[in-house]
Amino acid sequence: MLDTIIEGAIAFMLIAGGAFAFIGSLGLTHLKDFYMRLHGPSKTTTLGVGCTLIGSLIYFSREDGPIIQELLITIFAFITAPVSAHMLAKSALHHKLKPDPRTRGNPVELESEKPKHTVEEAPQGDSPLP
């Protein structure tokens, strides 16, 4: 009885992990611009890999006691995924990738830098320049 429950938990974790990772990669493939595409891998794929690792943790700690090493990879993935997503978003803003019109938000970094005044305009105030 207990074996059946544990096997069911392992099977559920494996299939849930695979489904989450597949959905994340599907989002990476068919969303419109980079800022939308960043959502899929950085949240969903991390959860999918974590689910799979916890499933294998249960699988290998059935016979001879709990095994902690698998939890290390899970914790490492959950710590490092937001950091790499942040760095990727910063580099995308630095390259000024064009957002889709449906993407919400208007970050300062994406505004085009217009010159302060044109050549025809006379500078205001008492500037020493002509």
């Binding site: 096997e7 069911g8 392992i10 099977a11 559920f12 494996l14 299939i15 992990g17 695979g18 489904a19 990772a21 597949f22 994340g24 990669s25 599907l26 990476l28 493939t29 980079f34 595409r37 960043l38 899929g40 891998p41 794929t45 991390t46 999918g48 890999v49 799979t52 690792l53 294998s56 699988y59 290998f60 095994i67 090493q69 698998e70 290390l72 990879i73 490492f76 993935a77 490092t80 995924a81 950091v83 790499s84 760095m87 990727l88 910063k90 580099s91 995308a92 630095h94 390259h95 990738l97």
Partner: protein, 89 residues
Amino acid sequence: MIDTALWIALALFCAAIVLNFYRALVGPSLPDRVLAVDTMYMNSIALIVLFGIWVNNKDYFEAALLIAMLGFVSTIAICKYLLRGDIIE
């Protein structure tokens, strides 16, 4: 029950890696490709773990841990290069 779940999970992760590969080939900009490769190493970690379950051997976790660490460091290094034009200033 575990065998069936294992095959389903393997198929899903392989399909996910194919989709990542498509994005890495097509991706219009450089951060897109970096993101695709980042996702690809995450999926390959899970694939190695599933292979470890398949052959019933728990030694494959060290390979997965190594891939996780090196992938994170390389992603951060490439992002740093894209941001500053230099990795260690």
